[in-house]
Symmetry: C2
Subunit: 517 residues, 2 copies
Amino acid sequence: MAVKLERNAAGRKVPLDINGRESVPFKGVGKHRPEGSKAAPRVASCIDYPADGDKRVASLKEALLRVGLADGMVVSTHHHLRNGDAVGNLIFDAAAEVGAKDLMWFPSASFPVHANQIGHLDNGVIHHIEGSMNGPLGAYCSAGKMRGLGVLRSHGGRWQAIQDGEVHIDVAVIAAPTADFFGNANAVQGPAACGLLGFALADSIYAEKVIVVTDNLVPFPCLPWQIQGNNVDCVVEVESIGDPSKIVSGTTRITQSPDRRRIAELAAHFCAEAGIMRDGFSFQAGAGGTTLAFAMYLAELMRAENVTARFARGGSTQHMVEMLDEGLIEVILDGQTFDLDGVKSMREDPRHQDTSPFTSYNFHGKGNFASMVDVAVLGATEVDLEFNGNVVTHSDGRLLHGIGGWQNCLAARCAMLLVPSFRDRIPVIVDDVTTVCGPGEMIDVVVTERGIAINPRRQDLLDAVAGSGLPIRPIEDLKAELDRICGVPARPTLSDDPVAVVKWVDGTVIDTVWRVG
Amino acid sequence: MAVKLERNAAGRKVPLDINGRESVPFKGVGKHRPEGSKAAPRVASCIDYPADGDKRVASLKEALLRVGLADGMVVSTHHHLRNGDAVGNLIFDAAAEVGAKDLMWFPSASFPVHANQIGHLDNGVIHHIEGSMNGPLGAYCSAGKMRGLGVLRSHGGRWQAIQDGEVHIDVAVIAAPTADFFGNANAVQGPAACGLLGFALADSIYAEKVIVVTDNLVPFPCLPWQIQGNNVDCVVEVESIGDPSKIVSGTTRITQSPDRRRIAELAAHFCAEAGIMRDGFSFQAGAGGTTLAFAMYLAELMRAENVTARFARGGSTQHMVEMLDEGLIEVILDGQTFDLDGVKSMREDPRHQDTSPFTSYNFHGKGNFASMVDVAVLGATEVDLEFNGNVVTHSDGRLLHGIGGWQNCLAARCAMLLVPSFRDRIPVIVDDVTTVCGPGEMIDVVVTERGIAINPRRQDLLDAVAGSGLPIRPIEDLKAELDRICGVPARPTLSDDPVAVVKWVDGTVIDTVWRVG
């Protein structure tokens, strides 16, 4: 049966039915108003839980039987353990053991380590995945091998989908670096300490059943409790929840590429020249080599002009922690720690506050932090002449990346894409992005090593940096130069078969990922 | 129209309709199983909130207009400011100003300072109160002057009622000792610092609209955020949210009464002799003079036997903080701070953890802390030969006290009532309590200055202290002695008109308070 498609406000054809559920095409930024009440799990009763608080069960298999895992259920995991995670794989191995079929896996993100699930997709244990599919699982999806449609959501969009009842989690599985027998858990202690568990918070609140899996059981009460045991059904001890060396890197590396350093430096100077970098301002910069370099240059300028940031939004790294210690930043509001310095700082420094997609990104809340940030510095795989951005597919159409908080961060007062002009001789600035992940009206500045393009909608920014000496250029000029260098690349031949959709922060569908090959 | 009554499992006649809502009579401990899903407010959208995060409005009146206060709505407040609270009164003065009628006031508790509301009850602004009514409001209710039935709930029962949708809060008003313009708030900082805001947490999560009222606005982000701004609609600055000198006392006083000290000492020795006081145990003792003395005697015995408690449940006081500092207690899990030492400790010591009725008391959760506590030491106005306890009415039938966490604490492994044999020559041990607040099967030990009565259901405790030299006596013996001294008091003449009901922790109705006079 052919999938029914409709062209949305971004001009993209999107399916009206996603895995048997009616969907709403993107209507434009700020145009979709949600209806109804938040989702809510069934009311529990202490009658059904041990009075002594001890919810331990012997194995993952027993836990799945205890919570009543059944065919077709939705099982969620989180990705704070990143490419070192063991639990995402262990739980589906256990699900296979108990004979479950057609599960939907709902990770906050998946990593190459989760290539293990390809076996479970092939053998029917997993029906499909809704969540970021980095690497091998993305390629699997791109090839049209998954039975259902992939659904890609931002971190905030995942909270929104759970909160709004678009995704009903039957069983949440929370890998916990430290936990007590009641289910209180944190990630600042233990051999697999990864800082926080914010990506699993919605799961713990909204899922019908919650399983905490830990390799570091401590006496009740486990403090701090980033996950509250009062939401937890059972606790399983395993030998290891993951490989700490792959969870966080010991160090994060600032790019040594001269081009990327130039991009970072231009972006930092832009913030200074445009008046964004002023006392009490705020910024968000991730852990990529270029954005790290941006933070380094920004720190230099802040020092020189004696400017203090009221807060910075993490992902945190050693460099951000150093800025906190130096007093350049007053507070870090952190959604994930990228290295061990970040973990240590979160554990020990009350100015380093763990956050969740609820506080930071959820668009269906009473405000969130993202729109309060003065400048957010992001990457992209492609950006087009309308300033639309893509982060999930490559120019060959293949789905290889997740969205992370990218869409959410576009709400910043100034959203900047820091991108190299081309990668592997393929220009990053294109006529039309392969996949629209962010509407152009929300992307304010594109910084390349060959110049800075300001969105014409932002006359205020154009005015602010006029006469600054920064290489401000129309995006069309930049593109023309790239095309002269690289030649205009051939567009990929994409099929008419949707393999995944990209949701906007309000739950509407902004674009479709098509089968490749 | 006569109210339809039914006799419940506690043998008490209770109304089947409470303020227009069908109610469930008490079925017995652990017998009522809840149905359905948790309540949930409407989905919000960032579209409707300022992108810069600034939710301030000029006045309480404007805030009430902004959130759409309408006749008949439910307005909630919290009682962490205790008898120093100004906000509970200010908000109803503002409601009167905007012409609202027939509101239901849903405080977590009310205090004598709230006698102000009697005017609003008389003039129709407030229809009725659901929540503890201490002092003058209790007397008002007892006299049958309130248009609706009072509904008395424990702290855990209040969370349960909100969570289960029995009470739908339209507008929550949160007095915040410190807040930012986004609505993040805490109570560890500011001139009216009262420690925590746990009693307002459910309100912030489940109410349709949330107003934060503060006299100490700080730059975003307010850390820690005990209340999350993402749940808040608007923020109002006022000159003062309350009188700090009445919020917490500078010092808490251990009783000097020889009788009460003897009760406390007997109770502490009972814990030691019964083997409850052992390494890693836990206890809960409130801030009353007798329970404070209990903690003092317990500390002495712990020191002598080199015993450490894994945790103590607050209400915290200077004395409990000293035990934490001394290492007699490893962790305080605290629901309210009763003095300034408690506030300071909560602010500065990560081992002093703020809690909420969700973690501690909610019976419709996946377990709670109350049942994990080894011994809870409580007061009572009356206890009867079946060990049923009363905390809300006096023997004359008048409603003068709230339940607090009393019902919830009965879930402890050993629940002890520390009571004087008589008050004003009225025996505390009676044939039948005026109002059943706690079923006898949950009350394990009654300690008076004339002896200790152990519930015959607890043969294990009777065995444990056999031969200990403690004055263990059947409760009938104790009562007979009191009756010889005081004479059997005349039972009060109560009307057939219900003025309030007492809910059990599972939301069922355990008893009725009848109009007096």
